[in-house]
């Protein structure tokens, strides 16, 4: 006798799954109104993804004196378009095709979301949270569809067998269905869009709507679309209706009136691994009073008009008073797309250890620090006594950097330009040479009283003469021209012409302390038929430009992977800390720490050097590991990944440190 074979779907406890999903939100949001915050975020994100023209709106409304329903409606959206299927087989076939225009089918199915980075949503989590928000684990929906102008309605609920079930109907039957289910609260939908009725919403959601928390959550999460597109979002507690506004703290004009200092850093470049991205803007605001509402403090990371998460400013830059800086970051689409892959399903955070998130965060840290210096929240230059050990710091950094360079780490990625291996411009027969540009000593630092040779030489090795303008100038960081020379020249074939300042004495009057650029430009004043590699045709208006940098009375920006810098902080937790800075990892050592303080006298310089070497290399390898973990192409810690036993990380770092320290006695 053949054994009986049972075939069917594996039974699932969807109620339990729902609870697990809700727990994910609760843990991440961590406050008593977590469900209300999650609900508005997913509902608005669904509504916004369904099309947002000028008339777009969204409404949350408690229905009935006992709040028997919470209605959420998006208007002037696409509605639940797509096939009105007849049976399970047809539905399965629609889902398998993965057609993104089949909104109705996807709305009624679990884990079949077709949403991509172009939308805000992920894996249909919103529906789960609607369901969980009902004490009866049921919500009804109806939709006036924009494509076919017909009407559909139905429900999603957890049945007595703990499985999630759906009902769906259309046309007149749908109207009858909704009237029956929602009773006196039913009214026809006037414009295209979708509406859901959450039956017996949970108490915490009702309270959040009544006490104004819900509108605050909306303003906190969706201020960008309200600000940019005038998005109309209202919340009605059954009596009063409130419209979500842009919080005053995110309005530039009002910030200025209140005495806050806002600053926009637009269009920033971000280099991450082999990819290049752009940040639309980092907007930072300094509030000297420090009375920014708790819900808005920190840096909001925006994606698709939604605030995904807020990073504590104090944690990003470990300096006193940093909590007074807040703001937001907007990304260009390519970066949003890459970040979407690192976003959690609840839209509440990113995986910051992976690229490009890691590099984005480093860039944000740098920007905040620069801003903090501008608003004088932190000191921009160290006092003289803290420059005393500069030579030791540089020597040790050089040792570490040389070692790391050999294993492929020459600096943090961020804004660093990748070498392309193209020919140097010096090999081209018409060029400007800076071989005669010479500073005192070997470094790029120049002090007052020293002389430099600021000379640029135009070399013409072509077989023709050229008529051109030659200009040479020196500018400071802000673009102010400190010195300039310009002349119209006839550049005869085979001839070189120098321009600039020979044995120029650097004075305080001409060169305030700072970074400078020495530039030289040749602009042709006639057309020729010559074509040169990289330069192209030598025609009227064509420019050849070269530049080099130097610093006056300050050290030039560091090259290499790490550099050391002393800090002064009474905070007991600050011993050795790090921060990114334009392609370099700055290792900060706290001179107020008793252990380090003992090493500061000049006679103990050798001990300080030893200390920096021993600790610096650990920090450096820690950062190498962070880079490797975030990268698709790890170079040193190829064996360390997300699943690595965290208790083994320090010993693993020490293995690499040991190899480095082997060369010292």
């Amino acid at each position: 006798m053949n054994p009986t074979i049972y075939a069917g779907r594996q039974l699932r406890n969807d109620e339990k799954n729902l609870k697990a999903i809700a727990d994910g939100y609760e843990v991440k949001l961590g406050h008593k109104y977590w469900l209300a915050e999650a609900l508005q975020k997913d509902a608005i994100q669904n509504g916004w993804d369904a099309g947002h023209g000028k008339e777009w709106s969204m409404r949350f409304e408690l229905k009935g004196a006992q709040a028997s329903f919470l209605m959420i409606q998006d208007s002037c959206t696409s509605g639940l378009n797509g096939t009105i299927w007849k049976d399970q087989e047809e539905l399965t076939s629609i889902l398998e095709n993965g057609d993104r225009t089949e909104n109705l089918a996807h709305f009624l199915s679990s884990d079949f979301s077709t949403k991509t980075a172009e939308s805000g949503g992920k894996r249909g989590r919103g529906k789960s949270i609607f369901l969980f928000a009902s004490q009866n684990l049921i919500f009804y929906f109806d939709s006036q569809r924009a494509s076919s102008r017909d009407y559909v309605a139905g429900a999603i609920f957890i049945d007595s067998d703990k499985g999630a079930k759906v009902e769906m109907t259309s046309g007149d039957a749908a109207t009858k269905y909704m009237k029956e289910k929602t009773g006196e609260h039913y009214s026809p939908i006037k414009t295209s869009g979708t509406r859901i009725f959450i039956k017996n919403p949970r108490e915490e959601v009702v309270v959040a709507i009544r006490d104004g928390s819900m509108i605050n959550f909306i303003e906190k999460n969706w201020w960008e679309i309200i600000k940019k597109y005038g998005a109309h979002i209202t919340v009605c507690d059954g009596t009063d209706t409130k419209q979500a506004q842009v919080p005053m703290w995110y309005r530039e004009d009002l910030c200025k009136e209140k005495g806050l200092e806002p600053k926009e850093y637009p269009n920033l470049k971000l280099s991450s691994g082999d990819n290049k991205y752009r940040i639309k803007r980092v907007f930072l605001i300094y509030n000297p009073m420090g009375d920014t509402p708790e819900s808005l403090v920190g840096i909001s990371i925006q994606r698709k008009g939604m605030s995904i998460e807020r990073r504590s400013t104090e944690a990003l830059v470990k300096e006193d008073g940093m909590s007074k800086v807040y703001g937001w970051v907007e990304m260009e689409p390519e970066l949003e797309h890459a970040m979407y892959d690192l976003e959690d399903v609840e839209h509440l955070g990113f995986i910051w250890t992976k690229k490009p998130a890691k590099d984005l965060l480093d860039l944000i840290k740098i920007q905040i620090r620069d801003f903090a210096k501008e608003v004088k929240l932190i000191e921009s230059e160290l006092s003289k006594e803290h420059k005393a050990h500069k030579q030791i710091e540089d020597d040790i950094a050089k040792k570490v950097n040389n070692f790391l360079k050999n294993i492929g780490f020459s600096g943090l990625a961020l804004t660093k330009r990748k070498r392309t291996g193209k020919k140097r411009i010096g090999e081209i027969p018409l060029r400007i040479s800076l071989a005669d540009f010479k500073l005192a000593g070997g470094s790029r630092r120049v002090n007052y009283g020293e002389t430099i040779n600021a000379i640029a030489v135009v070399v013409n090795e072509l077989d023709i003469s050229l008529h051109a303008i030659h200009r040479t100038w020196i500018t400071d960081e802000g673009g102010r021209v400190a010195k300039i020379k310009e002349e119209e020249i006839d550049l005869h074939k085979g001839i070189s012409r120098a321009q600039g300042w020979e044995r120029m004495k650097v004075s305080k009057e001409e060169f305030p302390p700072g970074d400078y650029s020495f530039k030289s430009k040749l602009t042709l004043l006639e057309d020729t038929d010559k074509e040169l590699p990289r330069i192209g045709r030598l025609e009227k208006g064509k420019e050849i430009i070269v530049s080099t940098a130097f610093s006056v009375e300050k050290d030039p920006k560091a090259q290499g992977f790490i550099k050391f810098e002393p800090i002064v902080d009474k905070n007991k937790e600050r011993y050795i800390t790090t921060r990114p800075e334009a392609g370099v990892l700055v290792v900060e050592y706290n001179t107020q720490h008793p252990y380090i303080s003992n090493l500061m006298p000049t006679e103990r310089a050798a001990d300080l050097g030893r200390f920096l070497l021993e600790t610096g290399i650990i920090i450096a390898f820690n950062e190498v590991m962070a880079e490797d973990i975030s990268s698709d192409k790890p170079r040193v810690f190829t064996d360390v990944n997300d699943d690595y036993d965290i208790t083994k990380i320090l010993p693993r770092v020490m293995e690499e440190v040991s190899k480095f320290m082997w060369q010292y006695q």
Partner: protein
């Protein structure tokens, strides 16, 4: 005559660029420019309060008002850098890092065209991206040539405009257009059209 623009630094005012002492006449001119700009901003705010104006129309109107001021006071190219900064200040907006790439400059160029024609082609964001490009926006002649071309060819979207913009940028790469006569510049831009047809 020293040309100057009145700018605010905190609670105080100063005149930029500082090219020597200003006489009363020069200072009066700078003050009048400032007042005209403030009045223009107020006029615009009133129009916006009436609630009938879209973003492109708003910036077009700004451009018209700006051009009236430029023409009335004969604001020079040297002064313009500071003039844009002043406009940001009186409008209560943050000055962008690269002041030459600014919305007021874009508006000033667009104001030379009928609003309706611009609206037929694209939104403010498209125009902003087109003229905001450094190579195009830095020379009014290039910007006007690009806008003329887009209007004439009825290019409707940013994506459609991109190949043209890229070709213009590439053609003018490493070229100082400011030393070219209008005829020489037009010839170079014409090469872009021939190459792309």
């Amino acid at each position: 005559m020293n040309m100057a623009i009145k700018l605010r630094r905190g609670e105080n005012f100063f005149y930029a660029p500082v090219t020597g002492l200003l006489d009363k006449k020069e200072q009066k001119r700078a003050d009048e420019i400032y007042t005209s700009a403030k009045n223009a901003v107020e006029k615009l705010n009133k129009t916006r309060r009436s609630g009938t104006i879209d973003i492109l129309a708003g910036w077009h109107l700004r451009g018209v008002l700006i051009n009236q001021i430029i023409q009335k006071f004969g604001i020079t190219e040297t002064e313009k850098k500071y003039f844009w900064m002043m406009l940001y200040d009186v409008s209560g907006m943050t000055v962008p890092d690269h002041i030459r790439k600014n919305d007021f400059h874009v508006a000033s160029i667009l104001a030379n065209y009928p609003l309706k024609r611009l609206q037929e082609i694209g939104a403010w964001s498209m125009w902003r991206e087109i003229i905001g490009s450094t190579k195009i926006g830095n020379d009014d002649r290039v910007a006007r040539w690009v806008v003329d071309y887009i209007v004439e060819k009825k290019i409707k979207t940013r994506d459609q405009a991109r190949p043209l913009l890229m070709a213009v940028r590439n053609r003018l790469k490493r070229i100082d257009a400011s030393i070219l006569s209008s005829g020489e510049l037009a010839n170079k831009l014409q090469e872009v059209v021939i190459k792309n047809n």
